[in-house]
């Protein structure tokens, strides 16, 4: 297969970027998309290309670490159902395809270089409340609290989020609602998450707004591209907890920080 790539090249956050065109001949259908980029990069290094190899983030290449991700023809991770770009194989493309590769585009995700962005806003959202406050050593026996299998399964469905950022990239508002709600729903479905449930929702949503992610307007693109199949019903759960928290959990209006 022969593939043509139009790749966003940008030297650093402050530099101007531009699209560059590259030809990759001899693509095997069994290659992953990232392996095709490896082949391109080897060639760019060997011929000492002025722009150097294309920078893209990746690590486990098994679809679980959440490092990789960029837009292929406007679709996050390339638009193959429940698949990160590292697990997307070239057998899904055709000989002669002409593809456009761009980084995630969102104010809250500044471009670091080429296809790599800064997603540290996600860590700050988790730090604002995405946990159960239990210090090491203070846990009761694992079977002390029985958990309904369905609740445990629903918690797991949400806990699968890999924090890749595809939901933000696919959303016309660049909202991080799917990501944030996945953590709120994961812990909200479990008895261990109940004591901090409302406070958590309020803190995390406030932090999400402070990071300049947009608001959710129920478009559903996030669910369509999520490689882990997180559903937008989690956003409904988040909104319910957030409204409840806003009514019941406010020490003073000054601490609310509506975004």
């Amino acid at each position: 297969m022969r593939i043509t790539l139009n790749v966003w090249r940008q030297k650093n956050t402050n530099a101007a970027g531009a699209m560059k065109r590259y030809e990759v001949p001899n693509v095997s259908p069994d290659m992953s998309f990232l392996e095709m980029l490896d082949v391109l990069n080897e060639e760019l290094i060997e011929k000492k290309d002025a722009d150097g190899p294309v920078t893209f983030e990746h690590d486990c290449r098994e679809g679980i670490c959440g490092s990789c991700g960029f837009m292929i023809d406007g679709l996050a991770h390339g638009g193959n159902e429940r698949t990160t770009v590292c697990q997307l194989h070239m057998r899904h493309f055709k000989d002669g395809d002409d593809l456009v590769l761009e980084p995630w585009r969102a104010t809250a995700f500044p471009v670091l270089r080429d296809l790599m962005v800064d997603r540290s806003a996600f860590d700050r959202i988790i730090a604002s409340g995405g946990y159960v406050s239990v210090s090491t050593g203070s846990a009761p026996d694992g079977n002390a609290i029985a958990i309904r299998k369905l609740d445990s399964d629903l918690a797991m469905d949400n806990a699968q989020c890999i924090g890749c950022g595809a939901c933000v990239a696919a959303c016309p508002n660049a909202s991080a609602s799917l990501f944030t709600s996945a953590k709120i729903a994961h812990l909200g479905h479990l008895p261990q998450g109940q004591p901090e449930r409302l406070e958590r929702a309020k803190k995390m949503v406030d932090q999400m707004n402070n990071e300049l992610f947009g608001s959710c307007t129920n478009i559903g693109e996030c669910e369509a591209v999520c490689p882990k199949g997180i559903r937008i019903e989690s956003i409904a759960l988040m909104n319910r907890d957030y409204s409840k928290a806003s009514m019941m959990e406010r020490p003073s209006t000054g601490d609310l920080g509506f975004g």
Binding site: M116, S120, T136
Partner: protein, 637 residues
Amino acid sequence: MELNSRVPSGDIQTRWTRTKFDMKLVNPANKRKHSVIVVGSGLAGASAAATMGELGYNVKCFCFQDSPRRAHSIAAQGGINAAKNYQNDGDSVYRLFYDTVKGGDFRARESNVYRLAEISVNIIDQCVAQGVPFAREYGGTLSNRSFGGAQVSRTFYARGQTGQQLLLGAYQALERQIDAGRVQMMTRREMLDVVNIDGQARGIVCRNLTTGAIESYAADVVVLATGGYGNVFYLSTNAKGSNVTATWRAHKRGALFGNPCFTQIHPTCIPVSGDYQSKLTLMSESLRNDGRIWVPKKVGDKRKAAEIPESERDYYLERIYPSFGNLVPRDIASRAAKKMCDEGRGVGESGFGVYLDFSEAIKRLGADKIKERYGNLFEMYDRITGEDPYTLPMRIYPAVHYTMGGLWVDYQLMTTLNGLFCLGEANFSDHGANRLGASALMQGLADGYFIAPACVGNYLASNKFAPVGTDHSAFKDAEANVNQQTNKLLNASGKRTVTSFHRDLGKIMWEYCGMARNAAGLTQAIGKIDALKEEYWASVNVPGSGDELNQSLETAGRVADLIELGSLMCRDALAREESCGGHYREEYQTPEGEALRDDDNFSYVSAWQWEGDKKAQTLVKEPLTFDYVHPSQRSYK
């Protein structure tokens, strides 16, 4: 050099309790005056940083990824062992201890392994309390599955993503401490040197991977939790970024490297498909609960799996090891698969593959049940190979997965460098010559949540710390050293890419230091690696500059260290003239072809001391004694 392992004496069941009682404590008000550096944010690093933050220490945690949640612990699939005996099937702390010592082929320290088994139960409690959604039964209790090398069901799991869920639990605990201001997280930093001042590890030098700046950080103690070095084989199940650099640089500063040749080849991975291949993907060992492994009885049988009748299939693990069957330990399952393929009975286009077949389990339990247990693994297999494992048997082949070796540590997890601790896969300590499935997660979390915080406290309370700043000459020297290496790599300006060298190294290691090793091959490999090292420094092509985000430069430094490590692994494998666990020397085998240990001469830990760039490392031995589990030839028949 004499190694002091600080292993306590007396009754094994109270060794850890007594050690903890004998430790000095840091008073709560003084804890915040102590600074701790943790390098690595996987299960061991994140849990250690979070716990030490909770205790009140001033912690800085470093990782090379963009977030601590990306660490490769996230990819562990199958589960985590704990001696809870919730299944009432005869499990106990002692049995988990026994299985692990035996599984490690009697090359691990009994004291460490007992402590690991003892702590295993606390880990499950802690993780449940954090909200880790382990699999549950309809009654609401925790569910278990079986893993290789054990005849009880003691593995806790969260679908096929147990590592992910445990890491996210530790990551969330860490983020909580970051929010509380007790841990400062330094992402996109790669540790390139450890700094010793007056006989104490007092800080690190790292490269800021976004800006390229070389940065120094001082502290009272340094903890390395930087994972394993399986990427020395180029193709492995490790993440692309996994590397040996942090521990290797510590080794070059005086920390001894333990059992480098003990590597684990995992029996069930997706076979290689082409030269462009960048990594291998594991299919969890848990699949061996329900999948049956077979090859055709006839050599060179190229028929499709479905066309081979039952009577012409060889379920070789069930045949050779009837009592453990498909659940024999990993080293044994891997060697058996290699043997079948070497006989010409391998399947798939390359002939390097065996079938892992679920058709019987699907008939017995229904496709839904199988989907619930392994759904995400089946999906992953389908995505990579384009084949549906619900209708066709999986093709699998062994691949490098885990490294039992690592920095030598004493019972309190301190390396031979005073004040430098090492946790998780990065140390050598608990798995001997072969790790049992679902034990890596257990060890990472035992080290991080429970052992390191106690031992680091003891070290801080027992020593005095002169104030040290990063303007100290030792930091300046280390920075100069790092800069010099960066410049050397950038200025080599040769023709060959870093990856092409890495691939060559991998081929040498896999051929000569992989599943089967022999003296002639290892000697040859050492020569080849030395030549590769020379060529590397003379003609590697690293594009770009040092003061920008430069992924090629990052890889270049890592590959330089992996090349040196590869040579040491081969020398370690050559010096160990016996077979044990994952280390299989063809010269030393039983008449049935099983690993033949030599307890009279090799019942020791090999710890290698760096002697400078021009000289080979020297071997220091830590003798192993077995007071509880008497060494015998492992039998899984």
